[in-house]
């Protein structure tokens, strides 16, 4: 269905990624936001607080991140679309409730403007080191969808997409942005509401007596309900049967939890979005996401000038991971170069899918800054020179590391 014009701030703006994400949430029909201030995500929450009351979006600043995410989960069961906004330490605090949301099959969006970690880390500067946490951060088996926008325009566009995916698959959707994109100010075009597709909630409409809260549709996703309709919902984080009632035997555990993961895994071709350029016949493919993909552009250009055939594959959705596509490309290319602002997270999934057919080179960065494009270019040249695929993940030594560690830490003999 089309977005509601009242909540779409149509126009051309010069705003940062955080604010664009806030406007995206309003355009997507988000009617409840709970948050807790944390750098560098605060501007997104402020944008919602500023504009929200005008367009009928309620916000509440909770006492902590545990409260924020719990409140948005409650609000979903009152029938509205919701989002919370956070970064590093707040994201860690929210992990238990993310698993709870996945277990209840509660659609919600979580905007994580990643900063340098671990712990307090570098609060005001960038990082991409929460990627694995976004996938595995809560206990137990579940699957999420994670999106990594790389510009303020994409922060707007993909926040809407995040809401649509959350409604379609009834799962947590993480917008795994980072401080650079969050604080990057660029032109953002907000179109008319009739140009914006908004996925409606898949509400149950049959007779109350027949409602089974967790009876899946053919696409493995159950119909949703809300409180106050006389359905006597019982919604619990305990493993439950189709009625929502607690069960603890292994039969139900495997049926129910398997569906939680399979509703994402089996629908992954519908969910995954990649942006590829020049991957056909490329000797090296740069796999990147978020801000690192913007930086990589320059490195790719430099390597191309030196005659290397380089393609780029940008993970717009990072989770679920495009296993099949990476595996297919691995058989045709010599190497993958993966720049990410961490000491190796998504690169291990690239290596898993490359399965020894191609070298996998990590260009690491400790955070609080972005890659030097020269390093990306050098890593591409290094990768293309290899006679046969390198084993495992090869960690490329960047200029920064060479200058500060003199070639890396070593244990004393």
């Amino acid at each position: 269905m089309k977005a509601d014009q009242k909540s779409v701030l149509t126009g051309v703006y010069y705003i940062d990624g955080d604010v664009a994400a806030g406007y995206g949430a309003l355009a997507a029909g988000c009617k409840f936001v709970a948050g807790y201030p944390i750098t560098p995500s605060t501007e997104a929450f402020e944008a919602v607080c500023h504009r929200g009351p005008k367009v009928g979006t309620v916000f509440i600043q909770m006492e902590d991140e545990l409260g924020s995410i719990s409140a948005i989960l409650g609000a979903v069961w009152s029938g509205v679309k919701t989002m919370t906004i956070t970064s590093g330490p707040g994201y860690s605090l929210m992990q238990e409730a993310i698993g709870f949301g996945a277990m209840l099959e509660t659609p919600f969006v979580l905007l994580n403007i990643q900063r340098g970690g671990p712990s307090t880390g570098v609060p005001t500067k960038t990082g991409q080191a929460d990627m694995m946490q976004s996938r595995w951060g809560s206990h137990g088996d579940y699957e999420v969808i994670a999106i990594a926008p790389d510009s303020p325009q994409e922060m707007f566009d993909y926040t809407i997409k995040a809401f649509n995916l959350a409604e379609k698959y009834r799962c947590p959707v993480m917008i795994m942005s980072d401080e650079c994109v969050g604080h990057m100010t660029e032109k953002v075009v907000i179109p008319d509401a009739d140009k914006i597709y908004v996925e409606p909630r898949r509400f149950y409409t049959g007779p109350a007596a027949d409602y089974r809260p967790y009876k899946p549709d053919p696409d493995l996703v159950p119909k949703m309900a809300k409180a106050g309709e006389g359905l006597n919902l019982y919604i619990t984080g305990i493993v439950h049967d189709e009625n929502g009632y607690p069960v603890s035997d292994e039969k139900y555990k495997s049926i129910y939890v398997k569906r939680l993961v399979d509703k994402i895994r089996l629908n992954k071709n519908e969910i995954i979005e990649l942006k590829e350029e020049g991957t056909d016949g490329a000797d090296v493919i740069v796999v990147s996401y978020g801000i690192s993909s913007r930086v990589a552009v320059k490195g790719v250009e430099m390597a191309r000038q030196k005659g290397v055939k380089v393609g780029t594959l940008r993970l717009v959705t990072v989770w679920p991971f495009p296993d099949d596509r990476i595996n297919e490309l691995a058989k045709k290319t010599k190497a993958f170069v993966v720049p990410e602002i961490n000491y190796g997270q998504v690169v291990y999934d690239v290596a898993r899918c490359a399965h020894g057919h191609a070298s996998v080179v990590l260009v690491p960065h400790g955070g609080a800054g972005v890659h030097n494009p020269d390093d990306v270019a050098d890593a591409i040249e290094f990768a293309v020179k290899q006679e046969k695929p390198l084993e495992g993940v090869h960690e490329f030594k960047t200029r920064l590391e060479k200058s500060v560690f003199e070639g890396g830490f070593k244990l004393k003999e």
Binding site: G74, W77, Y234, Y245
Partner: protein, 292 residues
């Protein structure tokens, strides 16, 4: 409007309309007081003349956390300590809902203490029923922030060394508009208090002192359920309007029960709606200046 009435057919449970009979038998131990609190609550729901379809019960984790699974209204069994935050979301997103948080002392006052005081400060419209059995019972009898000084628990094998929270005092000083306490023996008074609290605007707290025959009484050699009830009978003093400062519970000390706080303060939704209409109308609205 109440659409369901107490069932007078002798063959079925009088509260069958409000209980999930397909979930019986419940998990609570013999001599536990939680079932009595649920009985009082369902009776109060009838008396308060509230449409059960518009009631949501939110529980956390623990013995009392299981209440959500037995009452036949929209019910949510949330994560440990977070029912008040979850219920805040339900209420703010749909102010028509009557939201009741039904959980235990450990869930609401220890791990969830922060949400308790902030919801009271905001004066969110919700009734919090806090069943206090002085111990973490679901996990086998560990010391709680409500365990009286010197009482035994599995993690205070030489007696509890920490002073307990006085729940009515905490609720009162954080801003709750209605605070009462009764034991599981005082079913009639408890039902009346819950009825009153259900119709109160703002953050209401009813503490229910409950026997825990399996853990608290056993490790402290307090006898069986009947003896616990006799203890309440002999040692409870009803003192309405008592200063909440004086309500701390010592080990096997006198327990003061009654209605302690019943005051008016604008609720969160009242303030929010008023604020919203002012913001929308006001020229001070920064968006209004830009003409957006």
């Amino acid at each position: 409007m109440a659409t369901q009435k107490v069932n007078t057919n002798k063959d079925i449970h009088p509260m069958e309309n409000l209980l999930r009979m397909d979930r019986m038998p419940h998990i609570w131990c013999p001599t536990c007081g939680i079932g009595l609190a649920v009985t009082a609550f369902t009776a109060a729901l009838e008396k308060a003349n509230i449409d059960p379809n518009m009631v949501s019960i939110v529980s956390g984790i623990g013995c009392t956390g299981r209440v959500a699974g037995y009452v036949k209204v929209d019910s949510f069994h949330t994560t440990h300590g977070r029912p008040i935050a979850f219920a805040t979301g339900i209420k703010v997103a749909n102010p028509k809902m009557k939201v009741v948080v039904f959980s235990g002392d450990g869930d609401l006052i220890a791990i969830g203490g922060n949400h308790f005081i902030h919801a009271a400060r905001r004066n969110i419209d919700m009734l919090v029923v806090c069943v206090n059995n002085f111990i973490y019972a679901m996990t086998g009898g560990q010391v709680a922030p409500t365990t009286p000084l010197a009482a035994y628990a599995t993690t205070s094998p030489y007696g509890c060394v920490e002073p307990p929270f006085n729940i009515p005092y905490l609720a009162d000083s954080s801003g709750a508009v209605y605070v009462a306490r009764y034991t599981a023996l005082h079913i009639r008074r408890l039902t009346n208090a819950l009825t009153e609290a259900l119709n109160k605007k703002g953050f209401s707290v009813v503490e229910v002192i409950s026997p825990c025959g399996m853990y608290y009484s056993r490790i402290n050699r307090l006898g069986d359920g009947l003896e616990m009830m006799k203890f309440y009978h002999d040692n409870v003093e009803i003192k309405h309007g008592e200063d909440t400062k004086n309500l701390e519970i010592g080990f096997q000390s006198k327990i003061i029960c009654g209605k302690f706080v019943d005051r008016e303060r604008p609720s969160y939704m009242e303030r929010y709606n008023q604020w919203l209409s002012e913001v929308r109308a006001s020229a001070k609205n920064p968006e209004g200046k830009k003409g957006a």
